[in-house]
Symmetry: C2
Amino acid sequence: MSVVSLQEDISVAYLGPAGSYTHEAAQERFVGNNFAYKPYASISDIFDAVESRRTTCGIVPFENSTFGSVVTTLDCFIGSKLRISAEAYLPVHHNLLSKSKLSELKKVYSHPQALGQCKKWLATHLPGVALVEVASTSYAAELAKEDPEAAAIASLMCAELYSLNVIERDIEDGKNNTTRFFILGGSTSTRTGDDKTYFLFTVDHRKPGALCDALKVFKDHEINLTKIDSRPSQQRPWHYAFFVEFQGHLEDENVQGALEKLKELCPNAKELGSYPNQRPKEDTY
Amino acid sequence: MSVVSLQEDISVAYLGPAGSYTHEAAQERFVGNNFAYKPYASISDIFDAVESRRTTCGIVPFENSTFGSVVTTLDCFIGSKLRISAEAYLPVHHNLLSKSKLSELKKVYSHPQALGQCKKWLATHLPGVALVEVASTSYAAELAKEDPEAAAIASLMCAELYSLNVIERDIEDGKNNTTRFFILGGSTSTRTGDDKTYFLFTVDHRKPGALCDALKVFKDHEINLTKIDSRPSQQRPWHYAFFVEFQGHLEDENVQGALEKLKELCPNAKELGSYPNQRPKEDTY
């Protein structure tokens, strides 16, 4: 086996192009020479790559502390057999990057979430400048590299990768801006005693109180829900899939009891994985 | 009073520019000469316009049957005192509009939701063509008017307004694609016997089971939840606001009992309005 193939033993799919916050989170999480980071154009492509074993594992954004859940990731779980093996948190600092000066800018490219997170700064320092939404912050940097009248809101890694100047650092309005990621595939996490589990179910919505009945199961088993989301079930209009995160591990007895009961109640129910709690201590109450 | 001012007695704020699906929904909902439709650049601007009484009422997208809740609308409710007075449903058909022919296109502009809703059609008929995300479908049409290499995915109304040719009609992948809107402001709706109510609350997340306790209140009062969403509370990281929709009217005795109890349990709880159920019959189970 050559040195090159050794270095690429474990491949990690991330949302590209290079320099995205998902790329940064991947590099923080998977430290060492034996990881090959592979950029993919969309979150759905990452799910496909891991599911078809073209990569060992993948990393996808799950939620941002300011802007909430990444719905594309939730939607991908509905039709996937993948399990979450870990979570990761990345403080997100946005920067204004360009080939030009602030006074010469006519447009700013970025992902809609990043534009929203820098709304006040942009209104104060670049009033009237066109804000152009694109698919990722790193793609915005790619575009700004080719367009002397444009800037991108992106990571410092992008400044280096796309040879852009840092016009201004840390322009995000909320100073505790953090994005949370899931690692997909790889080995499942064993119980640590401080774990969380993510679970998906739909209820028979023709039955009054069905959602309440399902949620009551958690209470009856003394399980603390930490998050709940709903998305269209992709089966019929106005029919939802519910995503719940709770404290505990799939190996815990009360979790097993609750999920058994839920699977009786709910036509589609599946566990998406257990993983050690990685939330930074200062954010925990 | 002049004829003009009579015609503009009631003004309706919508998400512009002209030709957006929200514009279409406004025209379907408010039929007659005495309505003036006023375009606004963002959902948040619509909330502001109604709250400051610059317009009589506003119309905002709330959820799409394929792509789920419009999170910007949910977020605006958190800091607003506005009440919902009605809901409206609009079947959404997307069209490819351009000055040019299909074979000449190099990019397609549209809102991310519309691009997502036409994903399969685009992959089949325009593989390799750049998909450019912009803030609204009608803004996409504006851009396509100026760019002979571009098309927009937008409404038929946009074809007329922006002098574009309809290259292909109904290119959405899901054939029951429907968007649901809320009317903000104006007079509150009286009870009809088939009503829904929208309610917002946060729970003390340091207390285990707090979310379950809150949701159990609905079950205890025999209230059927039809939808639940969560969003960052805008107070601190990983702290959520929950949005629930249920069958019933704020004037109903059991609804009053439940909400009284919820306000005891939850630090921030407020009703966002009751409105007659307008869901098309074929979508109800």
